[in-house]
């Protein structure tokens, strides 16, 4: 049937939250995502490492369709992201449907991207009120709970400009969690932070990792060892190695992985 949007349920194990099937993307002649196949299961924490320009951020951002893809399929919770298929061709979903899909996927950015004209509280309740149509009372109650959870209960009235980088990133995590996502994406969440603030953000992420499905682009070895179930090494748009953090750090199978690790672990 031409009206099929989601693939037949039998294709996917319901425990698979994210699935990449032969995903390709090009920037001009550069093959940024090269035949990516990947599965992330419920409550799994996946850490992605790779040199800059390897395609690791593009891979992450394609999961909530901030990046378009040229071919292949990406499914989140069994539903194809950003596209529907008709007669074997992919068509981009309507803006409204894409927005709806994104609402269930939390994202945390390298540069926090808090809304500077809104207080911490307003940053958190904006989308729950506008997108999930929550009442202000309910949204604020949930926001208070989340602010407590990230250790910033006393900062609800502060503007982002009045907060440190570490505090801003924790607010950004609370903002993403307020949408009750089934999946959290982190795009180098600590690389814009001063060293002394990295710990407070990683602590929040480690705690979150106990109960959430997470995909994290990060070179923080401490976090990967403590929280990741699996790690992939991406280079030249390909997944070069896919194993556990312990295996990948101590016995990398591929020469390129070893070479890369020797550069970042000094």
């Amino acid at each position: 049937m031409a009206t099929l949007i989601a693939p037949p349920a039998a294709d996917l194990d319901s425990n698979v939250i994210v699935k990449f099937e032969h995903v390709n993307k090009y920037y001009g002649t550069v093959h940024v995502l090269n035949d990516i196949c990947l599965e992330v299961r419920k409550n799994e924490v996946l850490v992605i490492i790779g040199p800059s320009g390897s395609g690791k951020s593009t891979l992450l951002r394609s999961i909530n369709h901030l990046e378009k893809i040229n071919s292949g399929h990406i499914y989140v919770n069994g539903r194809m992201i950003g596209y529907y298929e008709r007669n074997g061709r992919l068509y981009e979903e309507s803006e409204k449907n894409i927005a709806q899909q994104r609402a269930a996927i939390g994202m945390v950015f390298q540069r926090f991207n808090l809304f500077p004209h809104l207080t911490a509280m307003e940053n958190i309740i904006e989308a729950p009120m506008r997108v999930l149509k929550l009442s202000r009372e309910n949204a604020e109650a949930e926001a208070d709970r989340l602010l407590k959870r990230v250790g910033l209960a006393d900062k609800s009235r502060n503007y982002p400009g009045q907060l440190s980088g570490g505090q801003q990133q924790r607010i950004a995590i609370a903002r993403a969690l307020a949408m009750k996502p089934s999946l959290m994406l982190f795009d180098e969440p600590t690389s814009a932070l001063d060293p002394e603030m990295i710990g407070e953000v990683l602590d929040v992420m480690k705690e979150l990792a106990q109960e959430m499905t997470m995909i994290v682009v990060s070179h923080e070895m401490g976090f990967a060892r403590a929280a990741a179930d699996r790690m992939i090494f991406v280079d030249d748009g390909r997944i070069i190695e896919n194993s556990t953090p312990e295996e990948l750090y101590t016995h990398p199978q591929e020469a390129r992985t070893r070479e890369f690790l020797s550069k970042i672990l000094h």
Binding site: L66, A99, R102, A104, R111, V131, Y159, A172
Partner: protein, 258 residues
């Protein structure tokens, strides 16, 4: 030697006596009201033209670009004549006088205001666009990642931030607008400059009268400068945005007009 007519000069310079002349009184009101209305409509048109120009939809982009291209590329005087006389003579549209209670808004005032607004929209479009483009693209991405649509992200996230960038040049546009309303004289819209030309036709004292006229425009733009400084400094308070220029700097510094 020219005999300067102090009596006429003082009569038309001093508001207490000048505003007793119904021509001048009405002219002043028309100039202020037309400026405000044309500027407001211009901002709205500019917003839509800016969004159109940045749209992913090809035809919208073409329409917006054609609009900006034409109205920035031709003289306002020509646009106004075309709108008022051009549409009138072809019977495409004759601007009829509008009666609202005891107030009559002449067709010329309507056409003039419309021409000013449409022309202003083309300039505002560029100002709004540069304001939106000054906002970090990460803001739109964050809004999208939270499930907001483009419209929601614009209204709630991007435009409130862009407003801070847009408001200072918008204030300068309004300063220009109050002076540019004088162009409506060519279609005999009863604004301030037209009023002075009418008085001059009766008295033939162009030197005295147009100095007096300058005084009124200077008063309007100076009052606006004060309001503008006040708006900008209250906007700048919460953020560490660069402080708005002070009153003296604003009044006595030359700023190019279009």
């Amino acid at each position: 030697m020219y005999h300067f007519d102090w009596a006429v000069f003082w009569k038309y310079l001093w508001p207490g006596t000048a505003l007793q002349d119904p021509l001048i009184r009405t002219g002043l009101i028309v100039t202020v009201v037309v400026s405000v209305v044309a500027q407001l409509v211009g901002v709205i048109l500019g917003l839509f033209a800016a969004l159109g120009k940045m749209s992913k939809i090809g035809p919208l982009r073409v329409i917006a670009e054609a609009y900006i291209w034409y109205f920035r590329g031709t003289p306002l005087l020509v646009q106004m004549m075309l709108l008022f006389f051009g549409l009138g003579v072809t019977h495409i549209y004759n601007f009829p006088d509008l009666h609202i209670g005891a107030i009559v808004i002449s067709g010329a005032i309507q056409a003039g205001t419309m021409a000013l607004a449409i022309n202003e929209g083309a300039y505002m479009a560029e100002i709004v666009r540069s304001g939106i483009e000054a906002i970090d693209p990460g803001q739109l991405e964050a809004a999208k990642s939270l499930g907001m649509t483009y419209g929601q992200a614009m209204r709630r996230i991007i435009l409130p931030q862009a407003a801070k960038v847009i408001i200072p040049p918008l204030g300068n546009e309004f300063n220009n607008m109050m002076k540019t309303t004088s162009i409506m004289e060519v279609i005999s819209a009863a604004e301030l400059f037209f009023a002075f030309t009418q008085v001059n036709a009766r008295l033939f004292k162009p030197f005295e009268l147009f100095i007096a006229a300058s005084f009124y425009y200077l008063a309007l733009t100076t009052i606006w400068s004060v309001i503008q400084s006040w708006i900008e400094s209250s906007l700048g308070e919460r953020k560490s945005v660069q402080r708005a220029p002070g009153f003296f700097q604003r009044v006595f510094t030359f700023k190019g007009a279009h």
